[in-house]
Amino acid sequence: MADPAQVKKDGGMDTPAEEPPGTDAQDTSADSAAVSGESTEGPRPTVEDEKTVLQKDSSAGEDGEGSSGLHPPAVKKLKVEPEKKKEKRQKVDEDEIQKMQVLVSSFSEEQLNRYEMYRRSAFPKAAIKRLIQSITGSSVSQNVVIAMSGISKVFVGEVVEEALDVCEKWGEMPPLQPKHLREAVRRLKNRDQIPNTKYKRIVFH
């Protein structure tokens, strides 16, 4: 589970627990947990841990699938490795869960409210499904709707976080104004984080 395991505390502002940026934060936190808590593992613990953490979220279904069509000794080796990886993944998950519990238990009331909104807010599935179907003209499966609403929420989060950065940089206070949002969108577009198929941006003239 990619539950936020890291807390980024801004100076003075009561920011909620944010999603760790990419896999970097996950890497360092899980690494330290792995090094301190799992010294009983055999050889290659750190390399395995990095690989495990980096692949934790993206290879959920890939472990154990690579044993088809190999020599028996290699098959045995691969059978042992996925179990080790699963154990480590569970341990890392448990660590994350514990840390999250400690963190949430120390929230102030306002932080709790914000965190609850952060977790619970979601796009209505019916509206998203209607929107996608109006674009494709054919029906879409439920998984597509789930994936699309999830991605859209992450997208909103990226824009709002960037806009808050802009707002702070310009020395102003929330609530966010349209100019902050537009500047945030402009920055994200420069980083290619906003899909755009309307016109090509020429990099070098």
């Binding site: 589970m1 990619a2 920011t15 909620p16 999603e19 940026p21 990419g22 896999t23 979220d57 993206s58 914000r114 965190y115 909104m117 952060y118 977790r119 619970r120 807010s121 979601a122 796009f123 209505p124 509206a127 998203i128 929107l131 996608i132 674009i135 494709t136 054919s138 879409v140 499966s141 998984n143 789930i146 994936a147 699309m148 999830g150 991605i151 859209s152 929420k153 992450v154 997208f155 909103v156 989060g157 990226e158 824009v159 709002v160 976080e161 808050l164 929330p174 609530p175 966010l176 104004q177 349209p178 902050h180 949002l181 537009r182 969108v185 402009r186 984080q193 899909p195 198929t197 309307k198």
Partner: protein, 124 residues
Amino acid sequence: MAEEDDDTGFDEDVEDGGLGADGGHGRRKRLFSKELRCMMYGFGDDQNPYTESVDILEDLVIEFITEMTHKAMSIGRQGRVQVEDIVFLIRKDPRKFARVKDLLTMNEELKRARKAFDEANYGS
């Protein structure tokens, strides 16, 4: 063909106009106003965000979904949107990729749990 998010005053002015042949984003009924407000608060904005900001974000989200849908239609099986296409399009963005994987895995687990629960009920 002006970009919705780059026009400085266009969005707000046109919205007040109301009637027009253009069935663009500004004219549609607001789909996500309530949910977007909660979301903005959750992500760090004020408890009462400005309505204009919520409108801009809604247009952004609709544009984002539209772009992703069009891209997904053009890869894999043409003319259809499938989960594999979305995952493929997202592969470069670590946050979104991890989120989609988590959501789909959780959904599978929930389905399995529900099925097991129903079977247990049916048996007893």
